[in-house]
């Protein structure tokens, strides 16, 4: 535990140092103002726009899309994983495709979705789910694979019903892998939503950043970029904390 | 009658220790302390040990008593905090020439077949190719791996893989062979067979052997002398001479003398093992 804390301190120190260095470079105009504004100015601007609420609708829209995409990809991915797991021939047929899935630049299908759904949340959620769902499927399959056979045997000796065994033995045993799937789904949903908004959309944080960029509003643009970095860091830290707690039960 | 070490000492009580110059390998007053994250762990010692040239010496002790640390010091992988370590009369600084080590875990390289695994050390040392071929063929034949020379470790059982590791050590013609629980992962019957192989190797090479094992019967049947270690920090609380003939094999288990030796070992070791189990950490 002491080691983890000192590492966290070191990490914080390094990040702080880097930010300070960038701040210095900006203040001294070594990095020109029209390329990047100083981190402190980014933070100040972010507070300003959060207070003024001019981007609140966009922020809420993005977060909502991320939540919907995550929920959809986790549930659909889990169910799909279960189905695939229980049909070995289906699994054998799908496995090469699943393995190659993330090789394909899925983004190229975004225009197709816009064509299908029009510009709006539909296409955005569709592409985000498309991006995230396979990581959940793979994580589900991994988790179910990793359940040691001896645990199921134990369940049968206790004469547990199928449902009881699933809920009380299989689910907890697969939980760490499943949670990894959830983490990845969140990350991919985030990337999918923001990227789609950036490329082509009418609302959302991604759209706001693109708009600010096209209109040379650097201050707003960087403030929003900082917001995304903070959101991602925060969510990651939260999920990692839960993950660590799940893992520490398993390992010394 | 078995000559027996003095039983009074909680510290190391050397029995018939040959002087450092005459011993093949010798440790005097060696301790080892690990420091990590602000805490220090007294892992071993103080230990006195003299290995006569060509003898077969086993070390038994409870888990975590520092047996592996002892081996690391003799191999030159770890310097001792206090005391001296000598091999062939010279101080041990780094891994000395003439020392071979077989580890507990499978150290065979999965990306090389058996032949290349065994030849690996010789090739790196720049030995002449004809000499390499001669030694590798001999070692592979000696360890019964001839039919598997082109196979990869992944295709072999655990016992075979350890044979590959032993063959890889054998080709370097070491004068001192250190083995750290090499048969720990194998089942009892395989272990007995491997024990016989080790004795064959020992007679053939006339090397000095130090074997670390947790199996009392293994130590009792294979060795000329057995050292019993206490719990951490490990010191020798007893050193027993077995008095076996050099041409022994695993069938000594049927001799009553074998029972005496194991009884004696367990008498000392049982106390230490119970002590070890009652502590929370390993």
């Amino acid at each position: 535990m002491i080691a983890v804390r000192s590492e966290a301190v070191l990490r914080f120190g390094i990040v702080a140092l880097l930010v300070a260095a960038v701040e210095m470079l900006c203040r001294l105009h070594i990095i020109p103002v029209d390329v990047m504004i100083a981190p402190s100015q980014m933070a100040a601007e972010l507070i300003k726009i959060l207070v003024s609420g001019e981007y609140s609708a966009d922020i809420i829209s993005s977060i909502a899309n991320v939540l919907i995409s995550t929920a959809l990809s986790v549930t659909l991915g889990f169910v799909a994983g279960l189905i695939i797991y229980s049909a070995p021939s289906l699994r054998a047929a799908l496995e090469p495709l699943l393995a190659s899935y993330y090789a394909v630049p899925t983004f190229i299908f975004y225009p197709v979705f816009i064509s299908l759904f029009g510009v709006g949340s539909g296409a955005i959620v569709a592409i985000a789910v498309l991006l995230a769902i396979v990581s959940m499927i793979t994580a589900t399959l991994n988790g179910l694979d990793r359940i040691p056979r001896v645990l199921r045997k134990t369940g049968r000796i206790y004469r547990m019903s199928r449902i009881k065994m699933a809920v009380m033995i299989e689910l907890p045993s697969a939980a760490p892998s499943l949670f990894t799937g959830v983490k990845l789904s969140v990350a991919y949903s985030f990337i999918g939503v923001i990227a789609s908004e950036f490329i082509l959309s009418g609302s959302g944080i991604g759209y706001a950043i693109a708009y600010a960029y096209n209109n040379f509003e650097n201050r707003h643009m960087y403030a929003l970029m900082l917001l995304i970095i903070l959101l991602v860091t925060g969510v990651n830290a939260l999920l990692n904390g839960i993950d660590r707690r799940l893992q520490s039960q398993r390992h010394r | 009658m078995i000559p027996v070490a003095s039983e009074t000492a909680a510290k190391a009580a050397p029995v018939k220790q040959t002087p450092v110059e005459q011993a093949h390998a010798a440790l005097r007053g060696v301790t080892c302390v690990y420091h990590s994250q602000g805490r220090s762990l007294h892992a071993l010692g103080p230990v006195d040990l003299s290995l006569a040239r060509g003898e077969f010496f086993s070390v038994v002790g409870p888990s975590g008593c520092g047996k592996s640390t002892l081996l690391d010091i003799l191999a030159g992988l770890n310097p001792p905090q206090t005391g001296t370590a000598h091999f062939e009369g010279k101080s041990i600084l780094g891994v000395p020439d003439g020392v071979g080590v077989v580890f507990q875990e499978d150290a065979s390289f999965p990306w090389l077949n058996v032949h290349d695994n065994v030849a690996f050390g010789l090739r790196r040392a720049g030995v002449d190719p004809t000499e390499i071929k001669r030694r590798v063929d001999y070692a592979i034949g000696f360890m019964g791996l001839k039919d598997f020379a082109a196979s990869y470790p992944a295709q072999l059982s655990g016992g075979m893989r350890q044979r590959v590791c032993i063959a890889r050590t054998l080709v370097l013609q070491p004068r001192l062979i250190l083995l750290d629980e090499p048969f720990g992962a194998l089942d009892q019957q395989t272990r007995l067979i491997m024990g016989d192989e080790l004795l064959r190797l020992w007679r053939e090479t006339s090397a000095t052997i130090l074997l670390i094992t947790h199996a009392l019967d293994e130590a009792a049947m294979l060795s000329d002398r057995v050292g019993v270690m206490s719990t951490r920090p490990g010191t020798f609380i007893d050193i027993i001479e077995t008095g076996w003939d050099r041409n022994r094999d695993s069938r000594v288990v049927s001799k009553p003398h074998f029972g005496d030796i194991t009884a004696r070992l367990w008498e000392k070791l049982r106390v230490e093992a119970l002590k070890m189990m009652s502590t929370r950490e390993l």
């Binding site: 080691a3 590492e7 070191l10 990490r11 390094i14 990040v15 390329v35 990047m36 054998a92 047929a93 799908l94 090469p96 495709l97 190659s100 993330y102 090789a103 394909v104 630049p105 983004f107 190229i108 299908f109 225009p111 197709v112 064509s115 299908l116 990350a187 985030f190 990337i191 939503v193 923001i194 950036f198 490329i199 082509l200 991604g206 950043i209 960029y213 643009m221 970029m225 995304i228 970095i229 860091t233 990651n236 990692n240 | 191999a75 780094g94 891994v95 020392v99 080590v101 580890f103 875990e105 150290a107 390289f109 999965p110 990306w111 690996f120 790196r124 990869y152 992944a154 295709q155 370097l172």
Partner: protein
């Protein structure tokens, strides 16, 4: 080969779903499988198209080379130092989770419009996963290998080249395989809004002109290319590992 029969069936099923979707939605929203293939062959016979392809190809090769060299070196350096690795890993993982689009304006402002910006995008997408995989590869290496090389009295260089590299190669190849796809993605996205040439640019103009068949033809081409590369690399990985595990 019959084990691919199942996969072939799944692919056929996907094409069937595609066709029925087309029938349901109509020409304005989707192109049928047949139309897509026809458009693609038309494009492949067009010289201009190949200019765009080579543009993307050039940027991709540069980006991939930098991502692999940078990622593997960084990963190995971090993996060898325990503290460095532990400290750096969460930073890298968080950087990786940030939607890189968000940093695009920054890249454009730094590199301007042109091939260097595209290469930068590609590297930005591919370098971190390769670094993470490489770092993991070293950390997962069995400690007994290093002890063996000590006992065999190998020099540091010999240890690195004859023990460490072969031991970690399968894992690094995994990372490079992932990095390949991501680098390609980065380059394409870079072209989509920061270039006047390349497949990504073609995609954007097709979007603006509403040419759904062109969009899908390019998407099909890229999909086939990506899966082909990925499959080749997986076969290479399998060749490396089939000797190493039961």
């Amino acid at each position: 080969m019959h084990k691919f029969g199942g996969t072939a069936l799944v692919i056929l099923a996907c094409v069937a779903i595609w066709q029925s979707l087309y029938v349901y939605v109509g020409d304005s929203a989707l192109a049928s499988p047949l139309q897509t293939v026809e458009k693609l062959s038309e494009l492949l016979r067009n010289d201009d198209f190949w200019i765009h392809v080579s543009e993307t190809g050039r940027a991709f090769v540069w980006a991939f080379a930098i991502a692999v060299l940078g990622g593997v070196s960084l990963g190995m350096a971090l993996g060898l130092g325990r503290l460095a690795g532990n400290v750096a890993e969460p930073i890298l993982v968080t950087l990786y989770s940030i939607p890189k689009v968000v940093l695009y304006p920054l890249i454009l402002l730094c590199f301007g419009l042109g091939i260097s910006a595209k290469v930068a995008f590609g590297v930005m997408h591919g370098l971190i996963p390769i670094a993470l995989f490489s770092m993991n590869a070293i950390r997962q290496m069995k400690p007994v290998y290093r002890r063996t090389s000590q006992v065999l009295r190998l020099t540091s260089l010999q240890t690195a080249l004859t023990v460490i590299v072969p031991a970690i190669l399968p894992e690094i190849t995994s990372g490079v395989r992932l990095g390949l796809s991501l680098t390609l993605l980065g380059v394409l996205i870079g072209e989509m809004f920061a270039s006047q040439r390349g497949l990504g640019f073609l995609l954007t103009s097709a979007i603006n002109l509403g040419q759904i068949d062109t969009i899908m033809a390019i998407a099909l081409l890229l999909t086939v290319f990506a899966i082909a590369c990925n499959t080749l690399m997986m076969m290479f990985e399998r060749h490396l590992t089939h000797r190493q595990s039961r």
